[in-house]
């Protein structure tokens, strides 16, 4: 929060600090979406420059900085994905080169805790609810596209997606602090 205020006040060091804190999560997200290091780095740069230019637009009453930053990053990543129309990416996460480049920061206990919480919650979702969420979040597919991809009725996909996200919210309830600054 304070970092964003400092960035809005044109504090370059605050931006560097924010970058150091979130680069790994955001770059991991962008790599998952784009599966292309060059594109992901380009978008990561765009995202932080947008943070620099738009930090004053952040409204703390409308959400956590984590949400703002991740929503911004994902939105840029999906935009780039759609622009590139490069759906040829390899879906299997294990096949990516990037995995071997996981930073030391990945072992950070705090971050691991976050991942653990979300993964644990997702593990409790039935696959039929989890898959639409993953396809929407990381592949940028709309409900109609997901319905086609899964060969399921659109109404069913809508219901499963909504139910899945509601369940995730309930399971993560009270863990919100873990995703703040």
């Amino acid at each position: 929060m304070e970092l964003l205020k400092a960035i809005a006040a044109r504090d370059e060091a605050a931006l560097a600090q924010l970058y150091d804190r979130y680069r790994v999560i955001l770059f991991g997200l962008l790599m998952r979406i784009l599966n292309n290091r060059e594109e992901a780095e380009d978008v990561l740069q765009e995202v932080f420059l947008q943070v620099w230019r738009k930090a004053e637009d952040f409204d703390e009453e409308r959400g956590r900085p984590f949400t703002w930053l991740v929503t911004l990053g994902r939105s840029r990543g999906i935009d780039r994905l759609r622009t590139l129309a490069s759906r040829e990416r390899v879906a299997e996460a294990g096949a990516r080169d990037a995995v071997e480049e996981i930073s030391d920061a990945a072992s950070d206990a705090f971050r691991s805790e976050q991942r653990g919480l979300v993964n644990k919650a997702l593990a409790q979702l039935p696959d039929e609810q989890k898959r639409p969420l993953m396809l929407a979040y990381f592949d940028g597919l709309t409900q109609s596209e997901i319905a086609m991809r899964l060969d399921a009725p659109l109404g069913t996909v809508k219901t499963r997606m909504r139910t899945g996200l509601m369940t995730l919210r309930e399971l993560l309830a009270g863990q919100g602090e873990s995703f703040g600054f």
């Binding site: 931006l15 979040y137 990381f138 919210r169 993560l172």
Partner: protein, 250 residues
Amino acid sequence: MVHEDYKEMIPARALSALDAAEERALNEHLENCDQCRKELEDWQATAATLAVVADPVEPSPKVRERILSEVRKELATPEVIPFRSTSRNVWRSFGSLGAMAAVVLLTALIVGLIVIWRENRAIKEELARTREFVQLATTPGAKTNELKGVDLGAGATAKFAYDKTGHAMLMADNLPSVPRGKAYQLWFIVGKNPPMPGKTFSPDSAGNGVVIDQMPKEALDSAIFAITLEPEGGVDKPTGQIYLRSFEVN
């Protein structure tokens, strides 16, 4: 659609998974519904937690350098940083464009007026000089002569008039511009005597020059007139090349 219909769409909107038409409809509703806006923010917070599922990956250190380098550039030129929201910027841009257009128009108008005023003044001055020259040339007992360009002054011409008191006027056209520190100088040449110096002058940008002088008495009856390029203050003896000269002895 009613409020409840929109409310059901919000989780999908938080995942950007609505089709275009649905998203447009919901966005319109959100503009007027605080409750749904708040709900969207809550769902977006839940959706954002999915980001940590992705494997963390370290970007190249060059990305950090590029970002900070760009930021420093913007700090050096803060006026180009678009801080405000797009909508406000659009209107500000229109305002700025309008102001810029007004400044450009005003500047063009002022420049145009100056040009007209200068042209008008130049024409008036030219008319005044011509009138003065005609008056002098038509004075009883006055004489006129013509000078022609030679060598570097080829293409230039001049008219020379003087009355019987030696009051003289030269009007030259198409003279080459003079280098810095130089000026044209009028000379009176009588017989084989050394040239007698007259006044100096510099032509305008069109090559027109005027000089009014008092002729030496020796030149009143018989002389050749010449123009040379000399140091700005003039010299006693010609040192530069002749640009104009008369061929008929007056």
